[in-house]
């Protein structure tokens, strides 16, 4: 299988997997929750990395998922207080979690592993590109 095909297959799989729960996000009018989750998982990845010290460890994915759940719980809790609306709740939670992630990276991982800083931030913000090529290059290895 050529790398080109692999990248495209990964793209297809990711798109299909995201489209299914996406239906519910759109219907519940919290479409941007996906944006929030994709930012705040940085914190989980960073904490997971500090725990195991290995960027390819499966715990990182688990921690990322846990932070995603935390994001949604916090957003729901904020909405439940009825002091802020849905959109404001989303806009309050994910920047805070993301900021903690960035601060942890630059305080404790910035000097030691500069490349990790690039991987974490780059992969998140440049998701349309880096994820496909990163995984595409990584797949033959694993």
């Amino acid at each position: 299988m050529s790398p080109q095909l692999e990248i495209q297959l990964i793209g297809v799989l990711v798109a299909a997997a995201c489209a299914l729960p996406g239906v519910f996000l759109v219907l519940r009018r919290v479409a941007l929750l996906s944006d929030a989750i994709s930012h705040s998982i940085l914190l989980g990845i960073v904490v997971g990395f500090f725990l195991v010290g290995d960027l390819t460890h499966p715990l990182l994915v688990l921690m990322a998922a846990a932070t995603g759940v935390l994001t949604v719980s916090l957003v729901e809790a904020l909405i439940h207080t009825r002091r802020v609306k849905e959109d404001a709740a989303i806009g309050l939670v994910f920047p805070a979690l993301f900021s903690m992630g960035v601060i942890l990276v630059s305080r404790y991982a910035g000097d030691v592993h500069l490349d990790i800083d690039a991987v974490l931030l780059g992969e998140l913000a440049f998701a349309p590109f880096s994820r496909a090529t990163y995984l595409g290059l990584d797949l033959p290895k694993g």
Partner: protein, 308 residues
């Protein structure tokens, strides 16, 4: 105490610190004031969407002019963000798609185009392209006085427009249908207010970056909302809280080595929101719990007396 006085002196004498503190203060002031409207109009995530949508404008401005001057890039960002906001408005008006999904669509499409352009620029080998991507993450410590002046100019103009159109914006925020029946140009006002919010987002991009700019739009407004029910007080309070978050975040990050400014500003804004949610008179969660408890006790004693 002596150290504190020295530190205060440093704010006025140290160029970098003074610039960053001033920039953060102006940013908080402007985005707080305009963010209040966004929060009330349930457009909180407009800031998030627009800060992403500004990226293609930034890169295109660089490709066309070859300059990385803050005013050039900001103009590009403003135009792209404005087009994005207008698209979102059209999608909401013309289709059955709701506000949040429309913003999500605009965010993804514009950011995607921006990344394609950015990657292309980086492959072309423009001599001075490095640093364009700092527009994404923000480098508050790299602000220079010229940037602060640009921010003050754009922000000042936005605040002035709010004052001029105060009555209209107030009506638009709380009862757009009533505004329409009175003959106000609702569509124009809607576009104008959205443009101002985009402008507030754009001036902050350089300081705190794409991701964290959304917090500076939402947090001061959401915090101020807890303290008052009047729009005037809310807008002023949001501006002050925004400035407070900006200044305290900038100072804390300058005191601690390795603490990036943008995220610190966002965290101090989040702390302000948490305090407001818990402690604000009337709407504070703690007072709510106390009230609940007291009324339960009163009910209990009342029913006990009835039974007796």
């Amino acid at each position: 105490m002596n150290g504190f006085v020295q530190f205060l002196q440093l704010i006025f004498t140290d160029y970098t610190l003074r610039t960053v503190v001033l920039g953060a203060a102006i940013l908080g002031l402007v985005s707080g004031a305009l963010g209040s409207f966004a929060v009330l109009r349930r457009q909180s995530l407009l800031g998030d969407a627009m800060s992403h949508a500004a990226l293609p404008g930034v890169v295109l401005a660089f490709i066309l002019t070859g300059s990385k001057a803050s005013l050039t890039l900001m103009t590009g960002a403003l135009i792209a963000g404005w087009i994005g906001a207008y698209f979102a408005l059209l999608v909401v008006q013309r289709t059955r798609i709701k506000q949040d999904s429309a913003l999500g669509i605009v965010l993804a499409v514009f950011f995607g185009v921006g990344l394609v352009l950015l990657t292309w620029v980086q492959r072309q080998g423009f001599a001075n392209q490095s640093g364009l991507d700092t527009f994404l993450f923000g480098r508050a410590a790299a602000l220079i006085m010229a940037d602060v002046w640009t921010m003050a100019g754009v922000g000042g103009a936005a605040v002035l427009l709010i004052l001029i159109f105060w009555k209209e914006f107030k009506l638009l925020t709380f009862d757009p249908d009533f505004a329409a029946t009175l003959g106000f140009p609702v569509r124009f006002l809607d576009v104008l207010l959205t443009t101002l919010i985009v402008a507030a987002v754009v001036i902050g991009l350089q300081a705190v970056g794409v991701v964290l700019m959304s917090a500076m739009v939402v947090a001061p407004g959401a915090a101020a909302r807890q303290w008052t029910d009047r729009l005037e007080r809310m807008v002023v309070l949001a501006a002050l809280l925004g400035a407070l978050a900006g200044v305290s975040g900038a100072l804390v990050s300058s005191l601690t080595p390795g603490l990036p400014t943008g995220p610190t500003v966002v965290l101090s804004a989040s702390v302000l929101v948490a305090i407001s949610l818990l402690l604000a008179p009337n709407r504070g969660l703690i007072w709510g719990k106390l009230r609940e408890r007291r009324s339960r006790q009163r009910l209990q004693s009342a029913t006990t007396l009835e039974r007796a």
